[in-house]
Symmetry: C2
Subunit: 359 residues, 2 copies
């Protein structure tokens, strides 16, 4: 499997977006976002998406689109993304939430007319830098998740990410789908020809299955399907995380993440909510962070099952993947990599960079 | 099993609290809260607690205590409950959050020096009446929940409740512990002498068990243990809901629900956070509620497994229990009921009411 150095990969991806008419600073944000997703191990939201986004440019993604503030109070805002890159409008929306939190203690911004915001964990991270608690979640994408005792898709995979600062310990960094696993994980099992673990998916008849193709076809068909808004009826479904409790958390995200946004008559695809909470209005940030340290240490020091080296908390798996990949590079599936290079070439990305990447 | 009419039961409980020096309007709030918990089927937070609270009056519960605002911004506040009844200070804190949301679009209040706020679902309900989204969660109670791959208790059962208004459909009403089940459910299995389902608890050695006594001793000993702050070392633990995802949501609640509150040197027991979001600052409340209706109808109308009459969403189980109990009365375990009556008698509650209740 090709393993690519992060800086080179970012350079390539940025050039590809510029080639399809993206302003250079937007291309930088999107490329940085995608590469970070890979670095943290969220490959389903990484470079594999470049292809997909580029195919939608001019249709569901409008480079350079201006975000509009539709409704605003001192602590809240509703913003229209006007189908700009989700990575760009998402970042602006989170910036607004942080700015508001600085004034009133908490800021909440709902974003609509946005296609895909990428790795959700990116946004709470911005709050972390300001010593704030950051929260982001999104709902209303194509239904894939089944209700407990149900047989068909009723909810999106509705991801949520939360970051909380710590002092000496690593911050708390949750970044999860409310489906039992991110739908993107199927791509791995499909490409490796492996069955998925039991308890993840149901087939189109509602029977448990371990065949990832029951949930979704191969990547190529999927991209095509998304682009054409093909009906999803004949596909299987993903189970929610945490049975009925997790399903209802997914339902909360579906409602609040997407229904707070204005829709008009035609139902739009999804929405996103960004929240920033300024700790300093409640208590000393230093003491708060020391308490977080203490709790994380207590958990890490607690007794473990034999064979378990470390009790992991939110953000740990991503941290370890990051350490490895920032040093050794980002592994990309052979097939995807060939497609990326082919696309880059057809977009006229300079041959010298492609040569370097092929090595 | 005795089945008691809700009005009579409330009357009794209110009188018991008045008898131990609770101002009548506070006793009314606490009694109403406890009876509602029973009506909605959350018996572990119902009348069974009256006993327990009364035993703590003057120690961890101070009737008539004044809530103090410690820090305040336009959208947020930190309040000191001064060990008043959690049902009373919780209500006041949620009222503050709602008032702030009316001004800035969102209000968030953190409460500390509070012992037990009762059924968490009570608070978001107050936001619902104002056409707002209400959220309440609390962390930092005695650890009972184990980490995935861990063997000992590291988190509280950290409950969260969320209410979202609908139009013609029932509102979305989440009220859940972030443990796989509420710890209070053990009481039922203990009193019935039944094993708990597999996958709920671990014994003190970290082995899966179905014996509820591995998690906690009988109610009497439990009350005594709580009151004396007995060490919990030799007890088993509850599994989190939703494996590592659910555990990390519980961890989020532990941190934000309890660490936003000032603690001083001596670590206090727990804290609570109340949030209200004013929908009207984002979009038309009517249209929002119609969208909620539509989604709930879509879920209810989706295909179901054979034998499943209705796909339930958050709030449905409580709704059905309410309909039954408001009509037929509240069932209370024989043993508990005897204890309640005995305590009521010793507190000097008038004999006429007790006679009526004994019938």
């Amino acid at each position: 499997m090709p393993v690519i150095e992060a800086g080179l990969l970012k350079n390539l991806v940025q050039k590809m977006f510029v080639a399809v008419g993206t302003p250079i600073e937007e291309a930088e944000i999107v490329a940085d976002h995608l590469i970070k997703a890979n670095l943290y191990g969220h490959d389903s939201h990484g470079v594999v998406r470049a292809h997909y986004y580029i195919g939608l440019v001019g249709e569901k993604i409008i480079p350079g689109a201006k975000m509009e503030v539709v409704n605003e109070t001192t602590s809240t805002a509703l913003v229209n993304g006007n189908w700009g890159f989700g990575q760009v409008t998402g970042r602006k929306a989170m910036e607004m939430a942080i700015k508001k939190a600085k004034v009133t203690g908490i800021g909440m911004v709902a974003l609509y007319n946005v296609f895909h915001t990428g790795r959700v964990g990116e946004y709470p991270e911005m709050a972390l830098k300001e010593n704030m608690i950051g929260i982001a979640f999104g709902g209303g994408s194509s239904p894939q998740v089944v209700a407990p005792l149900g047989l068909s898709r009723v909810l999106g995979t509705n991801p949520i990410a939360i970051s909380i600062p710590a002092n000496e310990e690593r911050p708390y960094r949750l970044d999860m789908a409310t489906s039992i696993v991110a739908a993107g994980k199927m791509t791995y099992y499909l490409s490796e020809g492996l069955p998925v673990p039991e308890g993840w998916i149901l087939d189109s008849e509602g029977n448990p299955t371990t065949n990832p193709a029951d949930l979704r076809p191969r990547l190529k068909d999927m991209v095509e399907g998304y682009a054409k808004d093909k009906p999803l009826k004949k596909r299987g479904s993903l189970l929610p995380f945490g049975d009925y409790k997790g399903f209802n958390i997914g339902l909360f995200i579906e409602i609040v993440g997407s229904f707070l946004a204005e829709r008009g008559k035609e139902r739009k695809r999804g929405g996103f909510v960004f929240i920033a909470i300024d700790i300093s209005n409640f208590r000393s940030v230093e003491e708060f962070k020391q308490d977080v340290d203490e709790l994380i240490r207590t958990i890490k020091a607690s007794e473990r099952k034999p064979g378990c080296d470390e009790i992991l908390v939110a953000g740990d798996p991503e941290h370890y993947t990051y350490l490895k990949r920032i040093k050794k590079g980002i592994p990309i599936g052979e097939e995807h990599w060939d497609e990326v290079l082919l696309l880059a070439k057809s977009l006229g990305v300079d041959e010298k960079l492609l040569e370097e990447l092929r090595e």
